[in-house]
Every structure is written in C-alpha cells, then in structure tokens.
C-alpha cells in the first residue's frame, strides 16, 4: 500500500487514494489532439452530449411510461405529454435528440470517410464506431416502437418480418423475435427491455471501447499528416505552444467543442419547442390498430436509404433482402475496400473525391425515394440508386484505390 500522508485538501485526499491527478492527466490535460482540425471534429463530443441528454430524458420518461400494449399509447400521449409537469419537454428532448443523434452520427461518419480516418492503424476506431452505429439503430428502432402508435406497430411488423427471409428457419425466428405469432404485447415488453437496459449498456461499453481505440493511433487531422506525438507533446509542455502541433483535450480542445455544443443547442431547442414534428410522425399519434394498415409504411428518415435498398429490387424480395444485408454491413469493410494506404483528405485524391460525392448523392437519392410511394418511375429510380450503391462500394472504390496505389498513393 502506498504511503498515506495527512491530506492538504479534498483533491489531495482523493489523489492519494484514487490517483485522480494522474487520471485527469491521462484522460484530459495530457490527452493530445492534433491542432489542425476543424469544427467537424467536435461531432464526437456533440454526440456524447446528445447521448447524455437521451439517457437523462429517458430516465424521466421511464418514471411514467407503461410497457403494456393497452396502456403504452395513453401513458405517452396523455400522462407524460399532458399530466406530468414538463413531461412534454422530456419527451420532445428524447424524440428530437434521437433524430438529431443520427444527423450527427452521419456527419461524424462521413467526415471520417472524407479525411480517411478509418485507414492504417485506425481500423478499430472505425469498426467500433460502426458497431455503435448499428447498436444505435437497434436502440432507435426499439424506442420508436414504445409509444405503440400506428407507425410503431406497423414498422415493427415490417421489420420483424424481415427475419422471415432467413433460409429454412425464417418463420420460426420471426415468431421467436415477436414472442407471438403477430406483433403484440410480448413484442412490446421485450423491445422495452432492449431499449431501456440491454442496448444502452452495450452502447456505453462500445463508447468506452471507441474512446479507448483512439488512444494509440490518435485522432486524425485535416491533412492526414503523421507526426511524432511524443515530440509534439514535449514541445507543448515546455511552453512552445505555437510550434507544437498538438493541444491537450482539456481545456484547449474542449473549449472549442463547448462553443460548438452551445451553438448546436440553440438550434436543438428550437426544434424541441417549435419544430418537433419532423421527429414525430403524425401517423404515430393514431393508436396501434392491428386490423388497419396505414396507407404508406416508411421508417424514420435515418433508415430510409437502407429501406430503399431493400425495396429497390422490386422484382425480387430475396435479392432486395440480400442487398439490404450487404448495405447494413458494407461500411464496416471500408478500411479493406479502400486499397490505398495513404491517409489524405478526399480533396487530395481526385478520383476518391468524385467517388465520395457520388456516394453522398446516391445516399440522398435513396433517402428521398425511400419515403416516396413505390409507384411509376419511382421504382426504377430506386432500383438504379440501389444498384449504384452496391457498385460504388464493391466495384468502383476498390478499383479507384488500386489505381491510386499503383500511381504511388495520393498526391
């Protein structure tokens, strides 16, 4: 046991027992971040802030929500929204944050793609991030079901039905997932458990892994520049702050992030109080009715692109399901599909830059057509966009990057 002296204050008392000074150094004041980054690197902290808001607002909602098919709808729309003081505020924060977190996740993800932050040494950061994306998707979907409105119910029916496409055991899996032959009370209660316990715990563990994965390869920067972190740290500590290419997480990096968060919160609370409808489908304010299918069934906006890949192959449900499966996991393989090992932002890799914007364009088309009814020309647009998505990832990207490698990497 270490020698314990009489402490000269609370911090010292804790430091002798828990090593808090060392911990603060490792986690904050001597955790080094490159200096040449822009506000897009603040998205990670914005996500952490949004996730915290989701957890806190979720706990408040949990106090009044009833996970019972007969009571769920009224417990949300009457008890929480109208009877509980500021219940509406917690609910709107929860619903808007759930939608906004996907906006930021997508930005975070495409920034990483643009700057090549998934490559050479940073694969684990990318893979743990993509795992977070997938678990967040499951978390969002299980939460969307809980108000037990019309769209909740039918979205659950459609999504659980997808498991029916598994060869041989499909129908049994569907029944096992639902806990019933149809989506019913058993389905609601198990998705409730997933939403409030299992998935959040998995998310928290993954967030820790994601942060930890940054520790050794360090955060990427605007130029994809590789520098000697140890030498740069030394310069900073010696006081040569202007020369050093790194900054400490606290207070330098966070001072910028906190500004970004505050600016973001102005917009966020505008949405919460005046424009929450974008995050709450009006159809979901009709109670679930198992006998009446809504005219149009569509997922929340953040799933539209993969939903469109699913139904893009309008002539074959099986092909659609396979393409959908590929779309769900394809991003995981990005570090290996991109064969060029050079880390550089897309604007210094001309062919990759074109690929990047084509992919964004294709995802926008898929998202927009994923909501439109599949009629007339829409189905062909959906088909072309779905095929393009697969080709862009499976064919075009490897070819571009192999050519780039042969030319000796990016300029």
């Amino acid at each position: 046991m270490a020698e314990i002296r009489k402490a000269d204050g609370l911090i010292d008392w804790l430091d002798q027992r828990l090593g808090v000074k060392k911990l603060t150094k490792v986690l904050m004041t001597e955790y080094w971040i490159p200096k040449n980054i822009n506000f897009l690197w603040a998205m990670g902290v914005v996500l952490t802030a949004l996730f915290t808001m989701l957890v806190v607002s979720g706990i408040f909602l949990l106090m009044y929500y009833k996970p019972d098919a007969k009571m769920a709808f009224d417990s949300v729309n009457y008890t929480i929204m109208q009877e509980v003081a500021y219940g509406w505020l917690w609910r709107h924060i929860h619903a808007v944050a759930a939608s906004m977190i996907f906006v930021i996740i997508y930005i975070h993800m495409f920034v990483a793609i643009y700057y090549g932050s998934y490559k050479r040494g940073r694969e684990m950061i990318w893979v743990s991030g993509m795992l977070l994306f997938v678990v967040f998707s499951a978390e969002a979907f299980s939460g969307y079901m809980l108000p037990w409105g019309q769209m909740s119910y039918w979205a659950a029916t459609v999504i659980t039905n997808l498991f029916g496409g598994i060869p041989f055991i499909g129908n049994d899996v569907v029944e096992w997932v639902r806990g019933n032959y149809v989506v019913a009370d058993a389905t609601l209660t198990r998705f409730f458990m997933l939403h409030v316990f299992l998935l959040p715990v998995v998310i928290m563990i993954l967030i820790v892994v994601h942060f930890y994965a940054l520790r050794i390869p360090h955060v990427n920067n605007q130029d994809g520049e590789v520098f000697d972190f140890e030498a740069e740290e030394k310069k900073y500590i010696e006081g040569k702050k202007k020369e050093s290419k790194v900054i400490p997480f606290w207070p330098v990096f966070l001072s910028k992030d906190i500004f970004v968060i505050c600016a973001f919160m102005i917009f966020f609370f505008y949405l919460v109080c005046y424009h929450f409808d974008f995050a709450m489908d009006p159809v979901n304010f009709d109670p679930a009715n198992s006998l009446k299918t809504p005219t149009h069934i569509y997922p929340e906006w953040y799933f539209l692109w993969s939903y469109e890949v699913l139904r893009g192959f309008f002539f074959s449900a099986d092909l659609g399901l396979i393409a959908f499966g590929i779309a769900q996991v394809i991003f995981f393989f990005l570090p290996w599909l991109d064969r060029s090992s050079k880390v550089a932002p897309a604007h210094r890799r001309p062919a990759f830059l074109i690929w990047f914007w084509l992919m964004i364009l294709d995802l926008i088309v898929l998202t927009i057509f994923g909501k439109l009814p599949p009629e007339g020309a829409n189905i062909y647009v959906g088909f072309v966009a779905s095929i393009s998505f697969l080709i862009l990832f499976l064919v075009v990207l490897p070819i571009i990057t192999i050519v780039e490698r042969k030319k000796g990497g990016a300029q």
């Binding site: 822009n38 900054i247 005046y274 304010f285």
Partner: protein, 285 residues
C-alpha cells in the same frame, strides 16, 4: 473562413435531405385538395330572409319533436340515449343549439334532403333509409320558417366544448377530456359500418389544416367514409379545432413560452464559450 464554407455545405446537404423527406414526400402522399367551402355551393340556395319563427315553432312541434328534444325550450328527448340508438342506429341530436352551429342554408337543405346535404348517398338509399326522413314535400317557405325558429332560440355564443358536443359527440369520444360518445359503441358500429375514432389525439395526427378540410367535407379526404358532412359554419368549425387543440396539445402555450427562453440561455452560453475559446486559443497560433 474555411469552417464557414464547411458549415454552409453541411446546411445545404441536410437541407436537401430535409426537403425531400418532409415537404416533398408529404405533398406526394397527401395531394392538395380544394380548400374548405363554407358556402356549400353544391346545395340549392334557399331564401331564408322571410322566415317566420312563430310559424316555424308550430312546424317544429308538429314535425320534429317526435324524435328530437329541445332542452332549452323544455322539450325533453322522447327516448333515452340507449333506446334512441337502438331505434334509429344513432342518437338524434338535441335541437337547442343547432341554429348557432350549422350554416343556415345547409340546415335548410338538410331538412329538405338529409342524404344529399350530408353527402352520404353511397350509404343511404331506398333499401337503407336515412334515420331522418327528408322534408322535400314541404315548401321552401315552411322550411325557412323552421330554420328561422331554430335561429331564434339559438344562444348568441357557445363555448368550444358546447359546439363540439352539438356537432361531434353523438358519435365521437374524446377520452382525454373524459367525454364519451352518446351513442353506444355497438349501435354505432352497426350504423356506421366501422368504429368512430376517438378524437383525443386528432390534432396531432392530422393537424389543424387537414382537420379543417376534413370536417368541412369528409368525402374530400376519405372518399366513401360514413362520416357525414355536418355543415358547420366557419366559426363553429374553428371552435371545434380549438377544442381539439386544447385537449390534444394542452401544453402548447407553455412550449411556445419556454422555447425562446432556453434558446436565449444558449445564445448567452455560446457567446461566453466563444470568448473563452478565443482566450485559450490565442496562445496557440
């Protein structure tokens, strides 16, 4: 400057996605329909200017009170709600307030030919008669006398809830206001062919604009529905929407008031944070 360019690019991309997923998709899934027609221009224009309320009173006593009550004139309904629903399929309305809620020309046309006025010819005909007989054998003068009588006994103003009770409560419940349909559910389902939905959340699921068009003419948005065109005048319809707003979205005022305060708080925080950031970063460049 570079960061501004990135921000603008982000806003443009997100803006395009938002436009596609919200307004564009909405306009395609819910095509525009003609605006609400409060003149009910498809109906015959009956001259109501010479209506005589005293003559109307006699006509009402002779023709209407066998089925309808007029509480304000101490004429009770001849049957209780359950028996009336059993006999007619739906509870006949009390007539005390109808002159204050319905468009007068609509009311005259309704008395003359209810199926035509309510736009329910797809539901009621020779074999399935409408519970109220048409009075097309009556002269337009007599009908205008009846309308004049209803207008003369109608109160000057009604609360939003009273308008709702008159126009909707025979079929619809509003559970969140502890208001329940007058007609028992089983009778109603037989009469309409479907359950009448609870209206507690209609303001959130349909929105003010859609509701106003729907109430004015249900067939326009839901062809073949068994909901009648009830013939509300513009003021009464607005009161009903207000009522649904108060029930389904009771915290709107609190939301509107609080939102701006939270936003101002974060504007101040953002300015402070920016000043702090400037101070810390000035040593770095």
């Amino acid at each position: 400057m570079k960061e501004f360019k990135i921000l603008i690019l982000l806003i443009v991309v997100i803006g395009i996605i938002y436009w596609g997923v919200e307004p564009l998709a909405h306009s395609i899934m819910h095509p525009k329909v003609a605006p609400a027609d409060y003149t009910f221009s498809d109906l015959e224009k009956i001259d109501l200017s010479k209506g005589d309320a005293t003559k109307g009173k006699t006509l009402v006593e002779e023709n209407c009170t066998a089925c309808h009550g007029i509480k304000s004139q101490n004429i009770p309904a001849p049957m209780d709600n359950a028996s009336a629903a059993g006999a007619y399929g739906v509870v006949p309305p009390d007539l005390s307030d109808i002159g204050a809620v319905f468009d007068h020309n609509f009311l005259a046309n309704f008395i003359k030919n209810p199926v035509k006025a309510t736009l329910l010819s797809h539901k009621f005909g020779e074999n399935t008669p409408y519970p109220m007989p048409g009075y097309d054998w009556m002269s337009n003068d007599d009908i205008s006398n009846i309308v004049a009588y209803f207008v003369s006994i109608a109160p000057q103003s009604l609360t939003d809830a009273q308008v709702f009770d008159q126009a909707c409560q025979r079929c619809h419940s509003v559970e969140y206001a502890k208001t329940y349909a007058l007609t028992p559910e089983s009778d109603l389902e037989k009469y309409l062919g479907a359950k009448a939905p609870d209206l507690s959340m209609m303001i959130r699921s349909r929105g003010e604009h859609t509701l106003s068009i729907f109430i004015n003419d249900p067939q326009k948005l839901l062809p073949g529905t068994s909901m009648p065109r009830v013939g509300l005048d513009q003021k009464a319809e607005k009161q009903i929407i207000n009522y649904l707003q108060k029930i389904g979205d009771s915290k709107k005022a609190q939301r509107d008031g609080l939102g701006i305060k939270i936003m101002i708080f974060f504007v101040v925080m953002a300015l402070l944070a920016y000043a702090w950031k400037r101070r810390i970063w000035k040593d770095l460049h």
